[in-house]
Symmetry: C2
Subunit: 360 residues, 2 copies
Amino acid sequence: MMTAYNFSAGPAKLPEEVMLQAQNEFVDWNGQHSSVMEISHRSKAFLRVAEEAESDFRDLLTIPANYKVLFMHGGGRGQFAAVPLNLSAPEQCSTHIVTGSWSKGAVAESDKYNNAVVIAEATIKDGLKYVEPVKSDLQPDAAYCHFCPNETVDGIAFDWLPQVGSVPLVADMSSTILSQPLDIDKYGLIYAGAQKNIGPSGLSVVIVRDDLLGKAQAITPSFLDYSLQSQNDSMYNTPPTYSWYLAGLVFKWLKDKGGVNAIAAINDQKSALLYEAIDSSDFYNNPVHPDNRSKMNVPFTLANGELDSVFLEQAESAGLQALKGHRSVGGMRASIYNAMPLSGVQALVAFMKEFERKFG
Amino acid sequence: MMTAYNFSAGPAKLPEEVMLQAQNEFVDWNGQHSSVMEISHRSKAFLRVAEEAESDFRDLLTIPANYKVLFMHGGGRGQFAAVPLNLSAPEQCSTHIVTGSWSKGAVAESDKYNNAVVIAEATIKDGLKYVEPVKSDLQPDAAYCHFCPNETVDGIAFDWLPQVGSVPLVADMSSTILSQPLDIDKYGLIYAGAQKNIGPSGLSVVIVRDDLLGKAQAITPSFLDYSLQSQNDSMYNTPPTYSWYLAGLVFKWLKDKGGVNAIAAINDQKSALLYEAIDSSDFYNNPVHPDNRSKMNVPFTLANGELDSVFLEQAESAGLQALKGHRSVGGMRASIYNAMPLSGVQALVAFMKEFERKFG
């Protein structure tokens, strides 16, 4: 079989070892003559899966005991609604840092349930997209401050924490969770749609400080109510069990790899290699300021945009898949989450050099 | 490998042929060197999966063109909220027929978003749980009338349609969809959590008459908004793609089996065999009136309840799995959805007779 590398932004490539294990035990899991997706979420066997997944996830991110971990339905956009519904009253304000499509989408959804105020936005510096570190004493009574430290579509990231006094920080980490260590206790809440660094789509994972629970608006759909789900170990309703199981395998894989510190070093190496290839040539271009380049999603353009489709076709033929940029942005984008090995980025860089040699 | 039969109520057994195909193409689907769960929901290859699944589902149930089919997040309980949010204004009333745990749960959730009124409830007739056919002129202006024609926990079903004038009928068919033919045009909306007759948990399927769209309350979370999802072919947000794919395989399997008419005949045969075994003995008992016996979920008790745990242990050893009744009901329950072959029910009946011989 040809070696292929899948650069999809999400649903995205999962670790090969995880996929092979899941395939191997697909119809006869745990010696039960059934798939793990065919058994009750309340069976002892599945409860063990659920507990181990949570425990491994907590280990990986060193999550303190006063934070709950929830495995929920609905993906990132489900959380766009769940966050304001659970953390704020209708008359309260939430503050937002807008740096790309996702953080922008969160504002509109929040504003249905509270008073959403944008306190900072991405700008342009030296002709490149840039995010000025946020230090704001606006809205000190805000229920929370929402931001997205890695924008999947735009390839914009920042590694500082907004300085907003005692306002709880809420981060959409869909495309960056588990890619590097985190100081969980600096956050009020972190959420992530699973389909980038955790597992298949249809699952979202929420880390929430327990003093933020118990404030859900009366109109909160029960299955999105953090307190209800927390009281029921994320089984108030039937959870997406197969996705939860796969997430658990991914967590074990990451522990085996040495955890988030080890994977962060590889992620640094991968992204450095790719940005170096882009920067070392006038043929390729990345529109983001060096301070704000994403290590997970690397968008790039060709100096001659008419070659985009040729690039994508030839890349596909060479086994370099799903490199097309988001439809709202165009160009190319390589998503290089945890599951993408260094060899994938090396293959992409070699292809880029060869393509430039032919068409540059 | 021992022949095992899994009677789980949900997540439930899926067709063996489907599971083997999915296993076979798990890591290299469609010649793409990737799993179907690792590719973008907006890729051509996945769009084909999505369209075929919808088209096959429409064929199976002969869904008229003026009905939309949605593939959504959140399962049945997600729809408990989505239905009132999408179909009613806060000051409107919804009517409810309560025949078991699920239809009861829907009332409480509806009442958050409209004025939920119970117009009929299951009763007792001849000492057995019974549902009187509903003919009601109460609340003729109700936004909809909600009912659950098959209660998974209680094993109570009815095959008549509530006579409620022009009030749109909304049916929770989580545990009965695709098990028999339906006159879709008698309904305003049908929904089903996938994890019984469709696929793995985490997906819900909605069939909605298009004149009922466009009425969502302003507080509806966007990912639960039927109109938004319909306008975006159920891809307003990233859908649970792997569950959607598996649902599509189940639909093709069912078409190959001869469709819902053919499976309904087998379901009749399976349930008749099991009820006959229960009725022909004083050792076993089913608490539901013959008019209202479920063909999907068959609860039964032992005359001597102290033998329950022995029965369950020995059944498990004999490869008859997940027969424990719901924790709110106790006793035993055999869920015999489409994917359970006749041979599974035959094996269960043989075991029951042998168990009675030993302990009766």
